[in-house]
Symmetry: C2
Subunit: 332 residues, 2 copies
DNA sequence: CTGAAAGCGCTTACAG
DNA sequence: CTGAAAGCGCTTACAG
């Protein structure tokens, strides 16, 4: 029903062989200009498009790139995906998107599927559960299959032997700290809802490297975190907050607002937010911009390059992208 | 390099024919239990997985579903995608995600690609540009190809002959209006950044059906909208705001906050927000919950059913899902 | 310059 | 119960 027009049907109509039709459409040197013309004209007329599945079987390429995202509802990953899409959509490849929903089991299923010959390359940010359990065998296995894979954002401390793309988390927080110091903030606390996540630990380390009397408030449970932040603010011992992730940032801002404090007066805040959302809000929260689209683009770029040159033994690279600080109303 | 283990290699190792191996692995009745055992054991031992491309070519199915989203950075669509993923990932299909980025041209490219035999079914929300130009030929063309397609969210007024899934936009706003009326709000304005979008018009119509002295503030340009909202609030002639979309909602809230007004006191607000973001914010904005994941699930469900029974001439259905109102701090 | 043949890795009537 | 053959729709050495 779909592709009634095939190489065979074109060949029959033109009274020539399938091979000649195929070669003509692929602009082979072997074929006379005249024949090519005839074939191409009819092909256009009949609206011929090669059956992609057949081409892939023949070429032994899937033309597809598998992407595993931990959580599409986190705007960070949505933007990363947009960046990936921008690069991939202008290549010959397509994206198959899988969501691990932070589950190790699901992540394994995704990689299993991918490694069964369904994709030519893989882009993955590991799930929270994977991060916690430090189980990476299913990822390392991909190497045996000869499928290029690029890790992004949450990069395990131990090298897994793949290209990686991340931002300078440690430095980002150091610079956020310095920014608050320049605002004469002297009692700066660190608030996190991702204490066990790799990026969360790096950010905390950045904070600890600067703070003389560190105050760290960290809970994975949002309600607990909320209560702790509330206490922290009510005690009035801090005049600056650095939040390690979007949830912590929103909670900090929310608690400050609820207390009726003036943004950036009694207490300054810098953290991580969704840029487009933040731009339309008041107060605009000062934030560390990770340029998620750039992360996506860089990740895709590396994979596309790998796919292009297909050399298996090239050593892997670790890309570290820079963040920038956008100052809003909560620190000025 | 990838699939060194194939039916052929298994057959050779077992000294039986490829067809017997194939049938054994597919649990054919024709094969003896003993042979099946031998084959399956070796297959497991060698880690055999059928080459998906070859299977697809044979079965004339791609096992893939194409999804076109206008804007992945809008949390609404991110959640819809999550809903779609939830259903599709437990089926035999996979999702190929394309982003139209609100461009008609890009949307056409996506559908062209899909219709060239790359997917078995399509899920699409049309781009803003498509909506504006009312150009739907590229969508209607899909019907000739016999590929099932389901439209969601932005459903053109004129029927295109496909299944559709949307929410009751008109009624949603009517109920939001009534909610504010119950709060003794008497001068309720309508604020929109999507005046030309189908859903925006329906929402506006809902508002107009209720308001005696309607005040509509609508601009696609965010900065203009911002100025207009500011004026509207400063004039102090309204005590209630209904926002038609996430951007309008955030701007309204931001302007109210900036004026130092107490949430829900001088002026009430209800609109559209990202639920998870809103839950962590203060003030929590009262909002119309569209249950985007449910939209995604319903959309995917319909397509999967179509794919299952493959009847071509079944009449199409229009599904209208209900929204609900979640009351926050901005109206109580 | 054109075409017959083999093959990509599978499935499935059909024969034995 | 097993296997040889044809075919899914292409591509590409190879012969002519």
């Amino acid at each position: 029903m779909k592709n009634v027009v095939s190489l065979k049907s074109l060949a029959k109509e033109l009274n020539i062989s399938v091979s000649t039709v195929s070669k003509s459409l692929n602009d082979s040197e072997e074929i006379s200009a005249q024949t090519k013309e005839r074939v191409k004209n009819l092909a256009k007329l009949r609206g011929y498009a090669p059956n992609p599945i057949a081409v892939r079987l023949q070429k032994q390429e899937t033309m597809q790139i598998g992407v595993v995202l931990p959580n599409i509802e986190n705007p960070f990953f949505a933007s990363v995906l947009k960046g990936i899409d921008e690069l991939v959509s202008s290549s010959k490849y397509n994206i198959i998107t899988f969501l691990s929903n932070e589950s190790l089991t699901r992540e394994k299923e995704c990689l299993d599927y991918f490694s069964q010959g369904n994709v030519d390359g893989i882009l993955i940010c590991i799930a929270e559960e994977t991060n916690k359990k430090k189980t990476f065998d299913h990822i390392i296995d991909i190497k045996q299959k000869g499928i290029p894979l690029v890790l992004f954002d949450r990069i395990p401390m131990q090298p897994l032997g793949f290209d990686t793309v991340k931002v300078n988390d440690f430095d980002s927080i150091v610079r956020a700290y310095e920014h608050l110091e320049n605002q004469q903030r002297r009692n700066i606390a660190f608030v996190s809802s991702i204490p066990t996540l790799i990026v969360g630990r790096l950010r905390e380390d950045g904070y600890l490297s600067k703070a003389n009397n560190p105050i760290v408030v960290a809970h994975e449970d949002i309600n607990e975190l909320k209560r702790s932040i509330e206490e922290l603010i009510q005690e009035k011992k801090v005049d600056g907050l650095i939040a390690a992730d979007i949830n912590a940032t929103l909670l900090c801002n929310s608690m400050i607002q609820k207390q009726g404090l003036t943004p950036s007066k009694e207490i300054a805040l810098i953290g991580y937010v969704d840029a487009s959302h933040n731009d339309l809000s008041y107060p605009k929260i000062s934030y560390i911009d990770q340029h998620p689209q750039e992360i996506g683009k860089q990740t895709a770029k590396i994979l596309l390059e790998r796919l292009e040159k297909k050399e298996e033994n090239v050593s892997t690279e670790d890309f570290v992208l820079n963040t920038s600080i956008t100052i809003g109303d909560t620190s000025s």
